[in-house]
Assembly symmetry: C2
């Protein structure tokens, strides 16, 4: 299915990356469940936190150590479709925000600091020369995509390069973060993510397209028309690489690489908003074994986001009407994962604490 | 309405506490809204986080400083109604869990540590002699309530003493925490909270009573019958002090005091599960000016919890099917409040970062 010549991280091809990915097995699920039910609380009373704890234990072991090395990867790229008036913001904002990220002034920077995470900013395809920008990782594949409404956004080799670049960002990082957040920036990229979502889930564009960063009803109708023009060229294909080529984005393909490399390295990863979640579903379609490493941070106000989460079978931790992206939602999920790992690691058992169990009478 | 002789914190009476509570005004709401919209993000794109940031700014100022001094107050008390078989756990567990809290082995201890919060454990009415227990605050009013199914759970002066004791726990703490979580422990206290919720909201007991820590259908029917017997004695009265006397709990009355003293001191406070939220609504009915200091952490699986949150008009941050109490949900909300304060405090503005605003075209 995938081209053997695709290079990822400079050394291994994409198929190699996929073949090397194993399901997490750092703990025995039945043993973790017994441990969970031995702790001084009614069984199941921590609700979804218990499932998060179990999943972390499968990845990192039981007890799960404190996951102190944590990073949000913010991948940036521009989109040719912006010339169709699909965004409330001018295209230049992608580059301007990259400067804001490395200066520490963006929302993700503030929230990442508050949860003890580093922000790694990567230029996958910004339509500006950012070589002068210190603190930015330079992995530019090309200056923005082509207009997905008119032609394929990317050539197949550009998709491969972007996936490889994203994978390399993770694989070449020393030490590798224990907890990875997926973030993105790209004016116009909710249009691309909407087309990807429609293609992957079969949902009609009008069920997927939302306001993005804030277009009005005219903008939504324009977005929907552009999405339809991109999706129709796919002729129903659900091939993730072909979808990326027709309607994708460089930062989205890069995030696919981040997820593949993160899964290969056995790291817990957290989705963010609509766009990052579209990348996560593409990655899982390429490599199903990546799924158990993914946690869903939130469900945004974008209508397509819920479709993606359902397709992944992931339950979001939050529903706060956030619709910013950048990794802001992913960062916010880190303390919840911390809490899940902490209770599993640190709680006393009924036996060790001398606490009585249920009477069985009631 | 309230007896003038009620002493709170040893020095001031309850009416004095209420009269001394002011609406938060550490920032001008219109100025905070302008500041929010000047930050480098589409307006409103951080969703509910923006409302949390605004509310924190009203309490603590804009910029809101890092709220590093934080505590979860876990108030404990026993319930006479446990003899009716309304709980899955024996009454002794209340005392056993107090030992577990001070030893640091309970869920709230682990989660509080993970969010940098202290756990303050207070005996308001445990049916055991805990004077030997170091690390516990001793504020016992009596050893458990009477059986609310048969007679008033508390005498009016016991209610006043418990409120005063809870208020004193906060007022006498130096330095006073900047962020306060409400927690509780008391086998049988979902029965009391169900009766309080029915009385305060007018909802029928069958719409309120849930599984608590895990009773089966027989237990639910028994709980419902006990709640009905307690509520009927109130004859429709919505007087919060009378409700506390007929069907309340010592730890619940104590939490009412915590909320009143916290509001008086101008502190942000976070609700926890069903029982703590019942206390919060009682406190707001006594002192409406306390409401702006309250944040809702989560909505639990207990059916009455939603009714209470709706009556308070508070939107919960989480819905994770948690049903443990202890302050576990409150602790989990602290990092979200941190993130809200952090983005408002630290983000660059469009002007300072040189980022273009919306085109207005789309």
């Amino acid at each position: 299915m995938l081209a053997d010549t695709t290079t990822v991280g400079g050394t291994s091809d994409l198929n190699e990356l996929i073949r090397g990915t194993r399901l997490p097995h750092a703990a025995d699920p039945a043993a973790v469940r017994r441990h969970l039910d031995s702790l001084t609380k009614p069984p199941g009373s921590l609700g979804y936190l218990e499932e998060l704890a179990l999943r972390l234990a499968l990845i990192h072991g039981d007890p799960t150590p404190p996951l102190q090395r944590r990073a949000i990867f913010v991948l940036a790229g521009d989109h040719g479709v912006t010339r169709q008036g699909v965004s409330a913001y001018p295209r230049e904002v992608t580059a301007e925000m990259c400067r804001n990220y490395v200066a520490g002034g963006a929302a993700v920077c503030a929230i990442a600091r508050s949860v003890g995470a580093e922000v790694v900013v990567v230029d996958l395809g910004v339509d500006a020369d950012l070589l002068d920008l210190p603190g930015l990782e330079h992995r530019k594949v090309r200056r923005g995509t082509r207009d997905l409404a008119e032609e394929p956004a990317l050539m197949p080799d550009e998709v491969s390069q972007a996936i490889a670049a994203g994978a390399a960002v993770v694989a070449e990082r020393h030490p590798l973060p224990q907890l990875i957040g997926l973030g993105e920036m790209g004016i116009g990229n909710t249009t691309s993510a909407s087309a990807i979502t429609s293609a992957l889930t079969g949902a009609a564009p009008k069920a997927v397209v939302g306001r993005g960063t804030g277009v009005g009803m005219d903008g939504i109708l324009r977005k929907r028309a552009m999405v339809e023009r991109g999706v129709v060229r796919l002729g129903g294909s659900q091939d993730p690489l072909r979808i990326l080529a027709e309607v994708g984005g460089l930062e989205i393909a890069g995030l696919v690489g981040v997820v593949l490399a993160g899964a290969r390295a056995g790291r817990a990863m957290v989705t963010d908003g609509f766009i990052a979640t579209a990348a996560a579903l593409l990655a899982v379609r390429i490599c199903p074994a990546a799924l158990p490493y993914l946690f869903a941070s939130h469900c945004s106000a974008e209508p397509g986001h819920r479709l993606l989460l359902d397709a992944l079978g992931l339950r979001p931790i939050y529903q706060l009407d956030m619709r910013l992206g950048e990794g802001t939602g992913a960062a916010l999920a880190f303390p919840v994962l911390d809490a899940a790992a902490a209770f599993l690691r640190e709680m006393a058992t009924f036996e060790s604490a001398g606490v009585s169990g249920p009477t069985g009478a009631a």
